[in-house]
């Protein structure tokens, strides 16, 4: 069952599905108990059992699969009228429901140890199948109708049509009987509409030797008229018998209940029961399954809407500036603002369809921490916070492996064994704290332990050994730079501690994944007191790749846009606080030394005259930070990204362009690309 662990999402979906089906079971079994059932009730029960069987089988949840399989068998017989509904049977179904609930509970608390023993109830189910008086099989086949067919019947009744059963016997010596049956079906379709038939003529193999075909049709004609017409017009037919579907002799299920149901009564009853289902459904978890493609299409459309709205807003504000006293334009601006608000809500709504609570990921952590700490003889106090935060499912998927990896490292390399901790004067139980905090459109996830911390000298040696950096380069590095070296190699596993870490993972992959999600990662570590990883990820995926929140800046006279998601901070530094380390200009921002970049030098723009204060936009991606020196800040706004097209092709450091409010065009800077450019080109 190890594979299940890999996807919290699947577990979540499975539990959700099970809950939904259990509720359906409960409602419908209650109906059986109240003698309030219809064909639909039985079919819903059957379907619920069938669904549970299917999904538990695919999860490898054997006990639930066995139990639902047996239930399905019993329900199948009920549907086909081979079993009679009785109190003991309903009781057993209730018992099954209880067992299923217990199984679900077991599964939620610990996937690997399912305690509930299902043998007693299985025995009971088997008993009822064999010993219960099986109703003698009827001569006539029984139509098993699905919802749609039931709906057709209801509709026919409401239009005062007749619902008739037509039994047709095809002549013994008729050639090609299946084709004949097909023609008969066409005949009935001309007289009315064939709702169901036994056997299904459309699925018969050619040349099949059938004798009797029974059709269920809705028609304006009465039974007698149709029977005569059929006898007159159908060829190769020896016998035709037409009677109402609601004939007492034909109703298999209703005879258990009140006798002598007339068509109208049944219609009323159907209406009544459908009212009831509406009522009942209120208790059911309201989840709707939607084809992901359809959602995706809606998402795209909303994306396009957003883009057009941005343009409308731009144009109306231009008009407003041009004609400030025009009332119509005033109105236009008002409407445009209102539409923006609505579109934002729509955008939020559509994004929420993709969001799932972090709980689905967090709920696996205790299990994993428990297992690992036991294996490594460590005592750990686990603190989880913020599991209620919802994030996009794709981001959750991408994140889950790296989060589990960081946790694993914290236990493996971070937290010391109890003896050592005792000697160090720390509490014997180590604390592992995993928190999630929303911050605007991002979530900040921290993994913090109070263990040994990472020895910077060790990183340095390891990096030199792995030829990531030369001794000389390493000597020139700041502490933070040295710490960040862990992202360039498989640092933790290189120590080769015998752990359960069989994952093909490393800090380099952590970094790559975060970079892919346009996130930011920070490490704070101190020998002896612990390590803290801080990850900042977007909560939602961008609605479309074509819009983003941009910060508009000026480099000399040219306007550029920076994605807000990469902007960590904006600071102003006086001239004397900009230092030079090995020829690289640096500034200290929040106790960290960051390199400064003048894009002027790379873009062939003069730097302009030196000012008293330097305006620095601190940019970040994954663990990397740098300060971009800009000449002016213009502000932030939603921008529409346009690809530069194939003639221009890929340009280093630029991801596209956008049209600004004044109709001029600005390039959008790509932070990762800028970094590559800065690193590869020494000016």
């Amino acid at each position: 069952m190890a594979n299940i662990f890999e996807s919290p999402e699947i577990i979540g979906a499975f539990i959700c599905e099970v809950e939904e089906q259990l509720q359906l079971l409960e409602i419908n079994i209650s109906k059986l108990k109240r003698n309030d059932e219809t064909t639909e009730t039985l079919q819903e029960l059957f379907r619920a059992a069938h669904t549970l069987k299917g999904c538990s089988a695919s999860m490898g949840f054997e006990r639930m699969e066995i139990l639902t399989r047996e239930m399905e068998n019993v329900l199948d017989r009920l549907c086909n009228g081979l079993l009679e509904i009785s109190k003991p049977l309903v009781d057993i179904l209730f018992e099954c429901l209880d067992y299923l609930k217990m199984l679900k509970q077991d599964f939620v608390s610990n996937t690997n140890s399912i305690k509930t023993e299902i043998t007693p109830v299985i025995t009971k189910l088997k008993e009822i199948m064999t010993t219960k008086a099986i109703i003698e099989q009827r001569n006539q086949p029984i139509f098993v109708l699905d919802e749609k067919q039931q709906e057709l019947i209801n509709r026919a009744l409401s239009m005062d049509q007749n619902v008739l059963v037509c039994e047709v016997e095809i002549l013994e010596d008729s050639p090609m009987k299946s084709t004949r049956a097909y023609l008969i079906m066409n005949f009935f379709n001309e007289c009315g509409m064939v709702i169901s038939m036994i056997p299904n003529v459309l699925e018969l193999p050619i040349g099949d030797d059938i004798g009797n075909v029974v059709f269920l049709i809705s028609t304006q004609m009465s039974a007698d008229v149709l029977e005569k017409k059929a006898l007159n017009e159908l060829m190769d037919v020896s016998k035709v018998k037409v009677f109402s579907y609601f004939d007492k002799s034909y109703q298999c299920k209703t005879d258990i209940k009140e006798d002598g149901l007339k068509d109208k009564d049944l219609l009323d009853k159907n209406n009544k029961s459908s009212e009831k289902t509406v009522e009942d459904e209120k208790q059911v978890l309201h989840t709707v399954k939607i084809d992901a493609d359809r959602l995706e299409r809606m998402r795209e459309l909303v994306g396009e809407l957003v883009i057009e709205q941005i343009r409308i807003a731009q144009i109306s504000s231009n008009l407003y500036n041009q004609y400030p006293f025009d009332e119509s334009i005033d109105d236009l601006v008002g409407i445009s603002n209102r539409v923006s608000v609505l579109i934002n809500e729509l955008q939020d709504g559509i994004m929420k369809t993709r969001m799932i609570p972090l709980k689905q990921l967090f709920c696996q952590i205790p299990e994993m921490v428990g297992g690992l700490s036991h294996l490594l003889n460590k005592e750990i106090n686990l603190v989880l916070e913020g599991e209620e935060i919802e994030i996009d499912r794709t981001i959750m998927e991408e994140m889950s492996d790296l989060l589990l990896y960081l946790i694993q490292n914290a236990i493996d390399h971070g937290i010391e064994k109890p003896e050592i901790r005792k000697k160090l004067g720390k509490p014997e139980k180590g604390t592992l704290r995993i928190t999630a905090l929303p911050e605007e459109s991002n979530v900040i996830i921290t993994v913090e332990d109070d263990g040994a911390g990472i020895d910077i000298q060790e990183i340095k040696m390891s990096a030199i050994k792995n030829q990531i950096v030369t001794q000389q380069e390493a000597d020139n590095m700041t502490e933070q730079q040295l710490i960040n070296l862990i992202f360039c190699m498989d640092f933790f596993t290189s120590k080769k501690v015998d752990t359960a870490s069989d994952r093909e993972f490393g800090m380099d992959i952590v970094r790559a994944n975060i970079e892919k999600m346009n996130g930011i990662i920070d490490v704070e570590t101190c020998v002896g007191t612990g390590t803290k990883f801080i990850i900042k990820l977007p909560i939602k995926l961008p609605l479309t790749l074509s819009t983003l929140k941009g910060l508009l800046i000026k480099i000399n006279d040219e306007i550029y846009a920076l994605p807000m998601s990469n902007v960590v901070e904006i600071v102003r530094k006086p001239k004397n606080e900009i230092e030079s380390v090995n020829g690289q200009a640096v500034a200290v921002i929040r106790d960290k030394t960051v390199p400064l970049v003048w894009l002027h030098d790379y873009f062939g723009i003069p730097r302009g005259k030196e000012r008293e204060n330097t305006l620095i936009v601190l940019l970040g991606i994954a663990e990397k930070r740098f300060g971009l020196v800009v000449d002016e800040l213009i502000g932030n706004q939603e921008i529409v990204v346009t690809n530069l097209g194939s003639y221009i092709g890929k340009v280093e450091g630029i991801s596209g362009a956008t049209i600004l409010g004044n109709r001029s065009v600005a390039c959008i800077l790509d932070v990762l690309g800028l970094l590559d450019m800065v690193n590869s080109k020494r000016i």
Binding site: E558, L599, A657, I659
Partner: protein, 141 residues
């Protein structure tokens, strides 16, 4: 060549030299406007402009052909062409007229110092010769 002779051409000037483009290649001709530079891109790319809400690249053929660069005057225009399903602007010093050529000759190996393979041919008019550009080749090679 008869077929070619029925085609109409837009003639324009780059640094006093006359050039022509098949009219079917020309999407529209607009006045010169502010061009946003794209740093570190193709050297023959002048930048991008906003053509009624679409961002399109603008090429500099003066640089491509090694001619003295244009100076912005009242007559400077951007000829927007359709090349490989993309709209691309070209800065020209002046747009002259739409004409038919009475005679088109194959291009010599070099046309005013420029590689002859960039040209469809040399069109003859009453006022002199006009070099007809193979626009796809000029822009992409």
């Amino acid at each position: 060549m008869n077929e070619v002779l029925t085609d109409q051409y837009v003639t324009y000037e780059l640094a006093d030299e006359k050039y022509a483009l098949k009219i079917s290649d020309v999407y529209e001709i607009i006045k010169m406007q502010n061009i946003t530079r794209i740093p570190n891109s193709n050297p023959y790319l002048e930048g991008v402009i906003n053509l009624r809400g679409k961002i399109i690249p603008v090429a500099n053929l003066h640089r491509k052909f090694g001619l003295p660069n244009y100076t912005f005057t009242k007559k400077t225009r951007i000829v927007v062409v359709n090349s490989r399903n993309e709209m691309i602007g070209i800065v020209v010093d002046k747009v002259n007229q739409v004409i038919r050529f009475s005679n088109i000759q194959p291009p010599p190996e070099k046309v005013a110092g420029i590689d002859g393979s960039y040209f469809e041919g040399i069109g003859l008019t009453d006022e002199g010769v006009v070099s007809i550009l193979k626009i796809d080749k000029v822009l992409y090679e």
